[in-house]
Symmetry: C2
Amino acid sequence: MFIGAQVSLYPMTSDFVEVIMTGLDALTPYKSDLRIETDDMSTLMVGAPEPLFGAMRDLFAASTRRPEHVTMHVTLSRGCPGEPDDPTCRCDVLEKAQDESLAERQVLAAEAVRSAAETGVQIDLQFSLYVMGNGDHMEEIYGCIDFLRNSGTFHKTKNFCTRLRGDAGPVFETLRQAFLRFGPAQGHVTIDMTASANSPSLA
Amino acid sequence: MFIGAQVSLYPMTSDFVEVIMTGLDALTPYKSDLRIETDDMSTLMVGAPEPLFGAMRDLFAASTRRPEHVTMHVTLSRGCPGEPDDPTCRCDVLEKAQDESLAERQVLAAEAVRSAAETGVQIDLQFSLYVMGNGDHMEEIYGCIDFLRNSGTFHKTKNFCTRLRGDAGPVFETLRQAFLRFGPAQGHVTIDMTASANSPSLA
């Protein structure tokens, strides 16, 4: 299994380089657990979902502590058949999920969100979950949407994506649960996600 | 068939509201062909691929004519089983693609990129193509990557995505061809795409 993300931070300020550098400092505690490589468009992070989602949450939370509007885009992927197996990406949640029904996974996902620690930072987030390969991919997606509606972080549905809102802690935990508990445990699942904070046009 | 996109523009300047408003002016010629709805996180555009990709290209090209670093993120979708049929999304390329082999589609895609008009704006772009449902989704993705490598706009492969570089005209045409010619013509296909211009850290 290969798990990772391409992450881009977009501060809507002329000081964007400084905001990005401050945000990247938040990744320091994760550097031993994740492979992190930055180019001019995005930062690749490869590793297990626990540090991976923690790193994304802390990067974004750190960047939102200034007053400026900031967004972050992430392309997440697990199980892509074109990527090599990577032992650092091993994940107990995925191992166990193979034997769990959709209903069981919905319960476990909801419990994980309820016990997520708060960060003190309010964010908006919208994302799309994609399940590739054989099988009824829409059943898993509808099952995920049911979980999202009852997650406590649900805001609204939109065409092509779902909006979440709340503290960055439970919001990123909701995203992690959607990524790990829905779609085949050994299949190819991706997420297209955008987070936003301090928007002047919050609706 | 339902075809559309969630589009977000991110100018890395304290004048970001003005840059966004200038960019949105570029959408005026497309308002009769597309349904366009904006909220605080993204702009929904629904319609046929010809005006849809033209609108995205012109929105981004207009925003890059100022000196500031600007990026745009787009979530594209066609054929989502959860969306209603919409006659305004009808597309001849998709209708014909049902009877064309992968090799034929690669040739047609390359021809379309070669004849795309230039805009005078240089951009970078990275994207992931997702093919849902039954069938060998990786065969279509590898076929698309072959087309991209010979498109004239190919820059490099990265984990989870492919980088393009060049004039916004052929680059957005490459993206449109990837979206329309690969994956089942009546299937569910999505793209997660980020464009960038005027980056101070161009590599």
